[in-house]
């Protein structure tokens, strides 16, 4: 017993330094971090890339756009990630941080669009919403109905109170929590878009951006908006169980569950593949990834991965990413980014912000 114990201890202690020495060796696979919205697309590309080339399959972590950019900006070298996915554009502050930590050359590649849908169960009638309805139904404070430029706490309990043409069901929307990029995009595109339909709010945006944001970007907390976690599958299941509620999630989940849920019309436009690709559907956002140019020479396979991602069979009109729900960019834009990926330029400069 005693001997065994000491042996175990000795083995455990000996193993540590042996492994530490390994860590300095070169990494022979790409590491990617970032957005959980881009994750389902990037992983498909990575898997194809790993299976069809001599390179190893890239490792992809879903850290969220903000978390990914933070890891990405930490520095240059095999310790740090090579690529970060983002469901929004890099911010100036994040770019500055990259430069401060030695990440001088960053290449931006846009991969396509993602639509954010407001859906309900197929057993219920389809909603026809406007962005103004969404704002009035979900904002913490709404413009005073008497028309004066003041706000009141949101009094609406049913959709009919918001808009006479909507059903008299209770307002109950299941959506992602504030940490989610989907929520950021929803707030920015749908709610702020709706808020701007009030002229005095539109004027306020020019005068006092913070005050506008406080009104247009704050979601009510009285139970009408239910934070349902980051798991979009869960929202789809909850919608089925409760046909009276609406849910907010990415287009790919609507696409995969088209037999269970239906997307509401927003401003008269149905969230279909074509409508999002055309830019008609108002609640959609571009998706990106960012590459460290300095790593292309160190880590094997980065160029190949970029080529695979920007190939027509991947992010093209009928590529395998569109099967997964990614909305492709127009032809000219695709060609532009294919060229960016091939030539690794232009690099981002402060002038881009």
């Amino acid at each position: 017993m005693k001997k065994m114990m000491f042996m175990l201890l000795a083995v455990a202690m000996l193993m540590l330094p042996a492994m530490v020495s390994h860590a300095g060796s070169l990494r022979n696979y790409i590491t990617i971090v970032g957005s959980s919205t881009v994750y389902p697309f990037a992983t498909v590309v990575a898997e194809k890339f790993g299976k069809t080339t001599e390179f190893k399959t890239p490792l992809i972590e879903a850290t969220g756009s903000g978390g990914g950019l933070k890891l990405f900006a930490a520095g240059i070298g095999v310790k740090y990630s090579d690529i970060t996915n983002a469901s929004r554009r890099i911010k100036r502050s994040e770019f500055e941080k990259c430069r401060k930590n030695g990440v001088q050359e960053v290449i931006e590649i846009k991969i396509g669009y993602d639509g954010i849908v407001i859906a309900n169960a197929k057993s219920a009638p389809r909603f026809k919403l406007s962005r103004r309805d969404l704002f009035l139904a979900l904002a913490q404070e709404i413009p005073n109905p008497d028309g004066s430029p003041t706000v009141i706490a949101n009094p609406y309990k049913t959709w009919q109170e918001v808009n006479q043409n909507l059903p008299a069901t209770k307002i109950r929307v299941l959506g992602p929590p504030p940490t989610s990029g989907t929520r950021d995009a929803f707030v920015e595109l749908a709610m702020a878009g709706g808020a701007k339909s009030f002229l005095w709010l539109k004027a306020l945006k020019k005068k006092n951006k913070h005050k506008f944001k406080a009104i247009a970007h704050t979601i009510r907390e009285d139970g009408a908006y239910v934070e349902a976690g980051e798991n979009d599958n869960l929202i789809v299941q909850k919608l089925q169980a409760d046909p009276e509620s609406l849910g907010i999630f990415g287009f790919s989940f609507l696409d995969q569950n088209s037999d269970r849920v239906q997307g509401s019309l927003v401003d008269g436009i149905e969230p279909t593949f074509e409508n999002i690709a055309d830019g008609k559907y108002p609640v959609s956002r571009p998706l990106f990834f960012y590459v460290k140019k300095a790593h292309v020479a160190i880590i094997p396979g980065i160029k190949g991965y970029l080529k695979e991602f920007t190939s027509e069979k991947a992010f093209g009109e009928e590529g395998y990413l569109s099967d997964r729900g990614l909305i492709p960019m127009p032809q000219a834009e695709r060609e532009h980014y294919r060229k960016v990926a091939a030539e690794l330029k232009p690099i981002l400069t402060p002038a881009d912000f």
Binding site: A12, H22, T31, Q256
Partner: protein, 424 residues
């Protein structure tokens, strides 16, 4: 005075007698509550298992399509068998089956019935056996995940689903010709993660779990028991030991994510260990399990009767001999229980692993402590979050595998405990 006391006695017996029925009732009620509690917890357990099993068991079988593949020598040049276009073989076989299909769109829809994994299967077969080239053979190839869902009744057979009328027609014909069947899903146990549900497997996460937990056990078990023995048997009780005790108890209650942050700061950023590796995961989980093991081991040592120690000392054993020959074997069952509780907790953790990069998409199966790896609960989380419908049954299947793993761990603990108990 005398009468008074008799009266008193009577009144006491009366009170007792009067209260007796009430006390019996209370007794009965309490037992009934106990039965209810057990029944309720069993009910919840049955509901949980029933739900997981009913959702997860279908994932252990998989739909396959019988296709007669012509290994066209023109498509398989002898010098380039590695990267030949095996997909083309599948496609031409599909076309032969439905010669009436014309037009790019319809053809694409037809090819979608077969998984992309079929091409990899054919590639493997050809590389193993070059004689196949030039022949025509029948193979049961993996079907697409949505066809699988349709066959399992998870997607309705009408045009509201993911298939259009034309595709449903093909599927009906395939079924009629006996070209569709469900068979055991070997892929699930033999491959790593994939974004195609029909190709996704649990092996990568399983071996990641084994590597991580092995390291956790290797580190936390000896260190934890060593610490417990020293604290309990050798350290003088005083302010310092109180201080240690408070801190260990505190650590046992610290949320696991904090250990993850510590791992990120110390092991990855300071020592420069690789991200996403079982090495760091194991270290973090070992730190997390240590307090649990120390506390339960100390309790087990405390429970060894002092007479054993005194007898051994009295017969001339040294303090170290007393501990290792007498106290430790007696305390071992309790220590093992504590270790298993700690390991079971480590097995279910995702939060600390998030910080050290083990929540990731990893296709290759990890073979060393340095390789990128993920663990079972992380795999479950990642699959639960995937949009493809077929992943939901794989999520439940992975939960079943996790539960089996847990049962094996606990059973081995019970077995070891029995074994050690026999000595005394």
């Amino acid at each position: 005075m005398n009468e008074n006391s008799i009266d008193n006695l009577c009144s006491v017996t009366d009170t007792v007698r009067n209260g007796l029925a009430r006390r019996y009732r209370a007794e009965k009620r309490f037992r009934w509550f106990g039965v209810c509690a057990i029944f309720l917890s069993l009910l919840f357990l049955v509901i949980l298992f029933g739900d997981i099993l009913s959702k997860g068991l279908p994932a252990f079988s998989q739909t396959r399509i019988k296709l007669s593949i012509f290994f066209d020598p023109d498509l398989l040049p002898a010098d380039n068998l590695e990267s030949a276009d095996y997909n083309a073989l599948v496609k031409s076989s599909c076309r032969k089956l439905f010669p009436e299909v014309k037009g790019r769109r319809s053809k694409r829809a037809l090819y979608k019935l077969v998984s992309e994994g079929a091409a990899y299967e054919l590639r493997k077969k050809v590389l193993q056996n070059h004689n196949l080239i030039g022949t025509t053979r029948d193979f049961w190839l993996i079907a697409d995940d949505e066809l699988d869902m349709l066959m399992k009744g998870k997607i309705l057979r009408d045009s509201t689903g993911r298939y259009n009328q034309q595709q449903l027609g093909w599927i009906e014909k395939l079924e009629h010709d006996g070209r569709l069947r469900r068979q055991f899903n070997f892929t699930f146990f033999s491959s790593g993660d994939s974004r195609d549900p029909e190709l996704a497997g649990i092996l990568g996460a399983l071996s990641g779990t084994i590597l991580t937990l092995a390291l956790t056990l290797l580190l936390s078990f000896p260190i934890g028991i060593g610490a417990a023995i020293y604290l309990e048997e050798f350290l003088k009780k005083g302010r310092f030991s109180d201080f240690l005790e408070v801190n260990i108890n505190n650590l046992a209650a610290v949320p696991s994510i904090i250990f993850g942050l510590l791992g990120l700061g110390v092991f990855i950023n300071f020592f420069g260990l690789p991200r996403s590796a079982p090495l760091v995961g194991g270290l973090v989980l070992a730190l997390m399990t240590l307090p649990t093991i120390i506390i339960s081991s100390r309790a087990a040592i405390k429970a060894v009767p002092p007479s054993i120690r005194e007898a051994a000392l009295g017969l001339g054993a040294s303090p170290v001999q007393v501990v290792f020959h007498h106290v430790l074997p007696l305390a071992m069952p309790g220590m093992l229980t504590g270790t298993i509780i700690g390991m079971a907790r480590a097995l279910g953790e995702t939060a600390p692993l998030l910080m050290v990069g083990m929540v990731a998409f990893i296709v290759d199966i990890p073979k060393s402590f340095n390789a990128a790896a993920t663990v079972l609960p992380v795999q479950i989380y990642l699959w639960a979050d995937s949009p493809e419908r077929a992943f939901s049954e794989r999520t439940s299947a992975a939960i079943i595998v996790l539960l089996i793993f847990l049962i094996l761990m606990n059973a081995s603990a019970v077995f070891l405990r029995r074994k050690f108990e026999k000595r005394w």
